[in-house]
Symmetry: C2
């Protein structure tokens, strides 16, 4: 199965603690790295997770609060120091390019590569990135300021062709892709070998959704139907539910409700408030609603199955 | 003896490693905290060193390279989140206010406190901060861009008055400070009690100098004469001496030469290049020149005696 995994770089929230870094994750899709949020220290955590800077392709910023994007300036400065030449694509809400472009310029008079900013519309859900194997779609969230989550979805992949059939029917190289895409194979004598004989089904496409920061959004479940892995913020526990609402955040059990209603495969919670010395209360409350829940931890890597 | 100590928050250089944070230190003078440089992640390290945000008085930035000042934006955002009301004074080279004031404003629409920027002249050595017990003086360095080190010097403190003499001669409260400052005491009958009988000498004033980033500057030794503790950058080892020169940095043995020529009490080296997996080579080379040398380490606290 092709690589599709999520590396947690930071799962704390705005106030610093000795236990967590601010928000940042790296999604590894077939060794292309996509960063989601880039809180202060993301580049340090990137190294600690043994990720490779030259595989970093794009950065997706959910919103322009300091704890979700301040690490961008230092990260770009480091890539410049390393002599990167490939473009770096940064997807972020409107207004982000102006502030980051000028600070990045101040700290990097000469750039070895181009940072290409893509400002997205935070009001609608749309595909903002696409390549041969993947789409990334925005998920408008309910936060104090324009904020979107991201849905990383694999495209359906071709069927697996059976090596022994290639040999048995002497299938030419030029036909391989057609057969992987479902075509039958016609022999010289006109006999048709049906595709099902030549191939096995493709792996079902997998998906990962990142939802932070947001108030509880019951409507989100519809958009997350069948997602394999969901990261949902869980800043507060039930006792602090009122704070969650007034500060545009979610409780752990609300995160779990979204996961349950969407029928996701697995839930990771994070974006912990600094008030909790350990997050077992958050895990307990989430597990009571949705059993396939885990706590995010710095430098954890979760494979998407 | 009054508190005077240096907390190392980060002693790496520009490229991130899993072992070091970028440059930042906190000088604690009688529980007033003065930060020197503020690399990315300084606020996290500040917490790890168990320092108190509400004791932070001023920040001194040596130069405007990313690894020495990017942490300022996140730190100010956190202080704002904590509801700080006291002014925060930031001393930095010319041009720094413009870039930082606008980014800080972007991430903090409403500020609970004022950041007061003081741009210093990097060409001359001058006192840029002074209070009852301390002066901070700039030390122009030889780097790729305008850059100054800082000399933290205690002011001479008053002599210690002997409690038994206060009782014996019934010295009134109003005279105590005069006597601490060296005056004799005249009794009602005209007899003069010499100051030496009433007091013991004050503690000699102590000093700490921070020199980073810089090429080897032999002339620095003159300005650092008798300093109790010196932090001097030691980015490279002897084998990479040419790189040190061309990149405007120092070797460990050059740092030690400055320390030896200045006759300082103790030397801490830091600002290690990411190329060294462990810094024992730097320590060895420095010790060969100046025996009172130690390696900086994150969250180390060095008392100044």
């Amino acid at each position: 199965m092709e690589k599709f995994e999520v590396n947690i770089l930071g799962c704390g929230s705005a106030k610093p603690t000795t236990r967590h870094f601010p928000a940042s994750q790296v999604v590894n899709v077939r060794d292309k790295l996509f960063m989601i949020d880039c809180g202060e220290g993301a580049q340090i955590q990137f190294c600690k997770s043994h990720l490779k800077f030259n595989r970093l392709q794009s950065i997706f910023i959910s919103h322009l609060h300091a704890d979700h994007c301040l690490g961008l300036i230092g990260l770009v400065s480091t890539l410049n120091l390393l002599g990167r030449t490939a473009q770096l694509h940064v997807y972020l809400p409107k207004g982000g390019e102006e502030v980051f472009a000028s600070v990045i310029h101040f700290f990097n008079w000469e750039m070895t590569f181009e940072v290409v900013f893509h400002e997205y519309d935070d009001k609608v859900s749309e595909v903002i990135y696409e390549d041969r194997s993947l789409t990334v779609t925005t998920l408008p969230l309910d936060h104090k300021m324009p904020c979107c989550g991201f849905l990383f979805a694999e495209k359906p992949s071709p069927r697996h062709i059976l090596r022994e059939m290639i040999d048995a029917y002497e299938i030419p190289l030029s036909m391989i892709n057609c057969i992987k895409n479902g075509e039958d194979f016609v022999l010289a004598d006109g006999r048709v070998i049906p595709n099902e004989r030549l191939t096995t089904p493709s792996d079902p496409p997998r998906s990962y959704a990142y939802c932070s920061d947001t108030r509880y959004m019951p409507a989100l479940a519809e958009k997350l139907k069948g997602v394999n892995l969901l990261f949902h913020e869980a800043t507060f526990c039930e006792e602090d539910a009122q704070k969650a609402t007034s500060r545009y955040h979610s409780t752990a059990s609300q995160a779990a409700q979204v996961a349950r209603d969407a029928g996701v495969g697995k839930l990771i919670i994070g974006h912990y408030s600094s008030r909790y010395d350990d997050e077992s209360v958050l895990l307990r409350e989430a597990l009571a609603v949705f059993e396939h829940t885990v706590l995010a931890r710095e430098n954890m890597c979760v494979k998407i199955m």
